[in-house]
């Protein structure tokens, strides 16, 4: 085996053996994983070898034959956060939006700051949030007489424009999903409202408000709530709780508001209304 000449495969079969062992392992693994085990895996095992292979590759072919009777489609919103929607919703023209906004000032305030406690302020509100709500008013998944009429009279491009305008106004504190670290944002805090805002209540399936609505948390399509009008917040929570507002994707708000007590709803609305970006 020594010497200058390269030993032949027969003199030094190690490399050959190695490749053979690795290949054998692969054959066994693929045979078990793709042909044999799938037949015993599901409650309804695949019928044919083709089915078996499809199953192992991750095509879910079963179930297509079922559910031929579909329930009526009822969706909470027609907005989905796809690349196209996000691009469209964030590509608004602020100048164009300013013109459209003249229709809004009567209720939402001269500079997007509403003085009527049941109407939300819009100044500084995230563009995606405004865009989604306008589309929901248009499609009727969120109900409001005046807003539905207004939204139906605007085009999606105008939604983006007017959202860009209000988002650029100073008003509601800008919440970029950041805040200074602060002790007492856990279950160790004795204040039940702050516990709800920052830690939630998992026993009742309530997520922390702040993880989507700030301060210090952000979720696409969820509005920052700091300094929003108190009565508006309270009414929306009540509407979610009773199901009269139902345009929340995956229904987090209906679930959470439904689990809150009346006094908690009032206390949360109050806490957010008096809050600044740094938190209550």
């Amino acid at each position: 085996m020594s010497g200058q000449n390269k030993p032949s495969r027969f003199q030094n079969p190690t490399g050959f053996i190695v490749v053979a062992v690795v290949s054998a392992t692969l054959v066994v693994a693929f045979g078990l994983g793709f042909l044999i085990l799938p037949r015993y895996q599901e409650s309804r095992a695949p019928f044919s070898t083709k089915d078996t292979l499809y199953h192992a590759l991750g095509f879910h072919i079963h179930g297509k034959g079922f559910n031929t009777i579909q329930p009526t489609l009822k969706v909470p919103t027609y907005i989905a956060w796809t690349e196209t929607t996000i691009q469209h919703a964030t590509a608004g023209d602020r100048k164009g939006g300013e013109l459209i906004a003249t229709n809004c000032t009567a209720c939402h305030g001269e500079k997007g700051l509403s003085s009527q406690p049941w109407i939300p302020s819009l100044a500084g509100l995230d563009r995606l949030v405004q865009y989604k709500q306008l589309d929901d008013f248009r499609s009727g998944t969120r109900l409001s007489g005046p807003m539905s009429a207004i939204a139906q009279s605007l085009t999606p491009q105008q939604y983006a424009d007017v959202s860009a305008y209000f988002a650029s106004l100073p008003g509601l504190p800008e919440d970029r999903g950041e805040r200074a670290p602060r002790a007492g944002s856990s279950y160790r805090n004795s204040d039940p409202v702050r516990r709800l805002i920052y830690a939630g209540d998992p026993k009742r399936g309530i997520a922390a408000c702040a993880s989507c609505h700030g301060p210090g948390g952000y979720r696409i399509g969820a509005p920052a709530l700091a300094r929003q009008n108190e009565l508006y917040l309270e009414q929306q929570l009540q509407a979610f709780a009773q199901g009269t507002r139902a345009n929340d994707m995956d229904m987090p708000m209906r679930t959470i508001a439904g689990a809150l007590t009346d006094s908690e709803i009032r206390a949360l609305a109050h806490a957010y209304a008096i809050e600044n970006a740094k938190g209550p």
Binding site: M1, S2, N12, T14, G15, V18, V19, V22, T25, L26, V28, A29, F30, L32, G33, F34, L37, P38, Q41, L53, H55, A56, L57, G58, F59, W81, T82, E83, I86, Q87, T90, D126, R127, L128, A167, D175, R176, G177, E178, R179, P181, R182, A183, G184, S185, S186, Y187, R188, N189, Y198, A199, P202, K203, A208, S211, G216, G217, Y218, R219, I220
Partner: protein, 544 residues
């Protein structure tokens, strides 16, 4: 060992100086999750902290350690100056800059995405760029290991490459291949979003690419410890290595089998079918082989040393071993930790059993037991071994070093065993806070507090480690310091088959296996399942 001392020392100091605060963060995280009072109890800070802890412990600390150890091996095992030392410093600088770049946005709370990134979650681009720079710096090291390996082979035709150099080169090549997964995830999936060129991430593809790195990275952490097992410990124990060949086979097996197994981190993910998950589960069992070989070889080597020292009988050799030697003690304790750690790993990699423990504290406990326990305890011993050689100053106290290792051993056990149990009880991982007024959660309170006590011991051990190092550094330079010696094997090989003296064929097998195991799982995203999801910016930089 005259050469490149400053180079190795700079790497090792950087590694441990990053390690120190990361341990502190880890301890605070345990407090946060416990019913005990915790300062600054803010979940946002928790996630920033976990990101910093994980990024340092997974990328920064082991990378600097392996680089420093690698350069020391290249110089001392090959007995020649390091070729390309200038480039090594360039790599060091890049990795150091990358570390700062990555950690500043984390500290600012702008990149709390955890070290595994979790797309479609996205944080500050500086975080990803920083980590990429850490990895790019380490590629200089990989290249230098390969270059020095080949130069030595060319200058010493027919001679077996010293096992330590062979092994650290295997480690470097493994890291070179496997890091490509995370790097391509960052380059092609995450950075385009953070720069605003795209608003969506294919979460399935991104997770799959990361899984290419996610498992083999643990072998990148582990191999330096195994190198000490094979080459430093038998020497410190006054014996010989049982088999040089077994060592070579072990490192080759790690190189070949650690990458095409990463899907076992995605058993519960919907983007892959059961077939490839099963295949990679089988391949993962193959990667348990080199560890079993190692346990056998190292125990045999310990027995040789014990019997040379006069140990008799079935177990007498164990008592005859020089347990006062930090390297021997560390390897012994490491083997003990490897036992429960390894068997826990077998559960994680089993396609069916994994479902029981998936995303529970069991998993966190497992990798802390293996990496924190079995691996880092040997890093300490390597430091005790190398420091006197690199600084020329004798170790301050072997006795304190031994106490430190014992504290670490017990600390890690007391931390991780309760963790495993609460994991089985269903405690999820990655949660910042638990509501202990919930009776289901309250059941875990005692065990969680117990593991915090383990954490206190770990903190004590780390402080002692730094005390020993700093005191050693303050001592006067000794007149002569014996050079680092690597263990001879019982039958030192005069020649070894070419296959066991290089990596040519093994790289080919590795790539073939990766292609077979990952070709379809990655390829499917390009022609079958597009899983684009809107990127979730932690901060609003993207959408506003």
């Amino acid at each position: 060992m005259e050469h490149s001392k400053a180079l190795s020392l700079a790497h090792l100091w950087t590694a441990f100086l990053c390690f120190l605060p990361a341990v502190g963060l880890g301890f605070w995280q345990m407090l946060m999750r416990s019913p005990l009072p915790a300062p600054v109890d803010d979940p946002n800070v928790y996630y920033a902290s976990v990101t910093a802890h994980g990024s340092i412990m997974a990328y920064v600390f082991p990378t600097f350690f392996a680089m420093g150890f690698g350069y020391a091996i290249a110089v001392s095992a090959l007995g020649r100056p390091l070729q390309g030392e200038k480039w090594a410093w360039v790599g060091y600088a890049l990795s150091l800059i990358g570390t700062v770049m990555a950690l500043v946005p984390v500290a600012a709370g702008r990149s709390s995405v955890l070290y595994t990134f979790y797309p479609p979650l996205v944080g500050s681009p500086w975080y990803y760029l920083g980590l990429a720079l850490v990895i790019i710096g380490s590629y200089f090291w990989i290249a230098l290991m390969v270059v020095n390996f080949r130069t030595w082979k060319r200058e010493n035709p027919g001679k077996p490459v010293p096992l330590a150099m062979f092994a650290i080169t295997a480690c470097a090549i493994l890291w070179g291949w496997t890091a490509l997964g995370a790097v391509s995830e960052v380059l092609f999936q995450i950075l385009p979003v953070t720069f605003g060129w795209s608003h969506t991430i294919d979460a399935g593809l991104a997770r799959t690419l990361f899984s290419v790195t996610l498992h083999a990275i643990v072998y990148f952490w582990l191999l330096p410890a195994y190198i000490a097992y094979y080459t430093l410990m038998p020497q410190a124990a006054g014996g010989r290595l049982y088999s040089d060949t077994m060592g070579r086979i072990t490192f080759i097996l790690f190189l070949v089998f650690s990458i095409p197994v990463g899907l076992h981190h995605l058993f519960m993910d919907p983007e892959h079918g059961a077939g490839f998950k099963f295949v990679q589960s089988v391949l993962t069992f193959m990667v348990a082989l080199p560890t079993l070989l190692t346990v056998f070889t190292i125990t045999a080597s310990l027995e040789i040393a014990g019997r040379v020292r006069g140990g008799k009988g079935l177990f007498g050799w164990i008592r005859a071993l020089p347990w006062e030697e930090p390297m021997v003690l560390a390897v012994g304790l490491s083997l003990l930790l490897l036992g429960p750690g390894g068997f826990g790993g077998l559960i994680n990699m089993s396609y069916a059993m994994n479902a029981m423990i998936h995303n529970t504290s069991w998993v966190t406990a497992h990798f802390h037991l293996i990496f924190g326990g079995a691996v880092v305890i040997v890093y300490f011993a390597i430091a005790y071994e190398l420091w006197p050689r690199l600084t020329g100053r004798p170790l301050f106290s072997k006795r304190l070093a031994d106490i430190q290792l014992w504290l670490w051993f017990w600390g890690i056990l007391i931390t991780t065993i309760p963790w495993h149990i609460v994991g089985l009880m269903g405690q999820p991982r990655r949660y910042a806070i638990f509501d202990y007024s919930d009776p289901e959660v309250a059941k875990t309170a005692f065990l969680v507090i117990l593991s915090v006590i383990g954490g206190c011991i770990v903190i004590g051990s780390v402080l002692l480690f730094f005390y020993v190092l700093v005191r050693s550094n303050l001592a006067p330079v000794a007149e002569s310091m014996p050079p680092i010696r690597y263990a001879l094997s019982v039958n030192p090989p005069a020649t070894v088959p070419a296959l066991l003296n290089g990596f040519g064929l093994w790289n080919v097998i590795l790539l073939a296996l990766v292609l077979i195991a990952y070709g379809y799982p990655i390829g499917q995203f390009f022609f079958l399942h597009n899983q684009n999801a809107p990127a979730y910016s932690l901060t609003r930089g993207i959408t506003k």
